[in-house]
């Protein structure tokens, strides 16, 4: 017990890094995904094709590899990003691609009649999107989004590969230093606590959208 307590400061520092990366990614990727989804559905061909390509690349390669490209790869061509910034960039680009596809499916599941009713009432394309389509879309995509968000908190562990001291790396350092398995158990508990919070948050969000069917 004393040993666990002695681990905590170090592990909490790692958790802080994990959470920073998590929230920064969400704050940027959640809205960017909407923009990408709208672009992906655009009738303007070049934009549409570019988004398809983008989504293919970022879903079609491992996130870890993307992390290497942005941290080491950009370094080779003379753009050197700080480790943490590189991680944020990679995560935002990757998660926006996944979220864009979720949003797209959500938007396409909205009945044509909603677009037509908006249209005959004189709403502009932007007004239709903003007031009619997106609010209904968010309700429908909450379950798959909560999946992605839970994936994200676990994916943050990947950044230890470029030497960022997040939660898992902190656990590993402690485990190797003390020849004990306990730090890994502590890390697991930490992850579970975070995912429990995420689950509760989405449960609450879904209940907030429960006022209509």
């Amino acid at each position: 017990m004393e040993y666990i307590a002695s681990l905590l400061p170090f592990m909490l520092e790692g958790t802080a890094v994990t959470l920073q990366l998590f929230f920064l990614t969400l704050v940027m990727a959640l809205p960017l995904g909407v923009v990408f989804a709208v672009a992906r559905l655009s009738k303007f061909k070049p934009l549409n094709v570019f988004m398809q390509f983008y989504i293919w690349v970022f879903r079609g390669t491992p996130l870890l590899l993307q992390l290497f490209f942005i941290y080491f790869g950009l370094g080779i061509i003379g753009i050197s990003l700080d480790r943490f910034l590189a991680a944020v960039v990679a995560f935002v680009l990757n998660y926006s691609a996944y979220l864009a596809e979720i949003y797209r499916s959500g938007m396409q599941s909205i009945d044509r009649g909603q677009f037509e009713a908006s249209d005959v009432l004189g709403l502009s394309r932007w007004q239709t999107l903003r007031h009619i389509i997106l609010p209904q879309m968010f309700k429908r995509v909450l379950p798959p989004i909560s999946n992605e968000v839970i994936n994200l908190i676990k994916d943050t562990a990947l950044v230890y590969a470029i030497g960022i001291s997040e939660l898992l790396r902190a656990a590993k350092i402690a485990a190797l230093r003390d020849y004990l398995f306990v730090p890994f158990i502590v890390a697991a508990v930490f992850y579970l606590i975070m995912t429990a919070f995420i689950q509760q948050f989405f449960k609450w969000l879904e209940s907030r959208y429960d006022y209509y069917r």
């Binding site: 009649g113 037509e116 009713a117 004189g122 709403l123 007004q127 209509y212 069917r213």
Partner: protein, 255 residues
């Protein structure tokens, strides 16, 4: 003076002619019922009038403004988006499936377009909306959500929502076809009231009774053509064309 003039409307889907050069002029205050078998093109025709569908050839003029007309090559050319938006605002549309906004309350459904499109004052929009709800018999449902209402009530909200934009013409696309039989009456009553207030109405319908009672003119369409038109008693009681007779025979037999 016609409030709506559609001239030689032609439309093609893939390899079929859906509308074969049909024309329709509607006078202010006139109630026109369009009947015909499914696949006759009647809904498509109505949807062309407010550009939910585009036409390939022909001219549509609403309230003295041309929305689409033929160019020198005989191909339909639409006005710019802004002009079209303004012209379409003269037309209200009621759909078979209501198409209410499920995430908005009844009152919000009615206020949405006046606020966003006309930039109306909130209090003014609310007053108008409440008055319209009263008119369709739903004064007590302003704060309900669409899923809480019966189909007949939802359709009445949809009619009120269209009226909130103060249109010159109301278009109805099979407004009672998605309703249980016992709920059609309340919707038809609201439509009758509108007709009595001299609202110009174009109604695509299967309700022969409504056409007979309310419509000034009945149009029978089949296979992308207007086969026959005239007063309700002419077309419904004394049809001249074989196709009209056959259609009315099957419809009336089914009752």
């Amino acid at each position: 003076m016609y409030i709506l003039q559609a001239t030689n409307i032609y439309k093609r889907f893939q390899h079929t002619d859906v509308l074969k050069d049909i024309s329709l002029n509607v006078e202010k205050g006139e109630v026109v019922a369009i009947i015909g078998p499914s696949g006759s093109g009647k809904s498509t025709f109505l949807r062309c009038l407010n550009r939910l569908e585009t036409i390939d050839r022909g001219q549509i003029e609403i309230g003295g403004e041309i929305m689409v007309s033929n160019n020198a090559d005989g191909k339909a050319v639409y006005r710019g988006e802004k002009d079209i938006a303004r012209i379409r605002r003269k037309m209200g549309m009621v759909f078979q499936n209501f198409n209410l906004f499920p995430h908005k309350s009844v009152l919000e459904n009615l206020m949405m377009a006046p606020l966003l499109v006309n930039k109306s004052d909130v209090n003014e929009a609310r007053d108008t909306a409440l008055a319209l709800l009263k008119k369709v018999g739903l004064a007590n449902n302003a704060d309900s959500y669409p899923f809480e209402l019966s189909g007949g009530m939802q359709q009445r909200v949809a009619i009120a929502r269209a009226l909130a934009m103060n249109p010159a013409i109301m278009c109805f696309d099979e407004p009672t076809s998605a309703l249980d039989p016992e709920l059609t009456g309340e919707v038809l009553k609201v439509m009758k009231d509108l007709a009595q207030e001299r609202m110009t109405m174009i109604v695509v319908t299967h309700e022969i009774g409504f056409a007979r009672e309310v419509a000034h003119r009945v149009i029978f369409m089949d296979d992308g053509l207007i086969v026959e038109q005239g007063t309700a008693s002419e077309v419904l009681l004394n049809p001249q064309q074989d196709r009209t007779k056959a259609f009315l025979g099957t419809v009336l037999m089914a009752r």
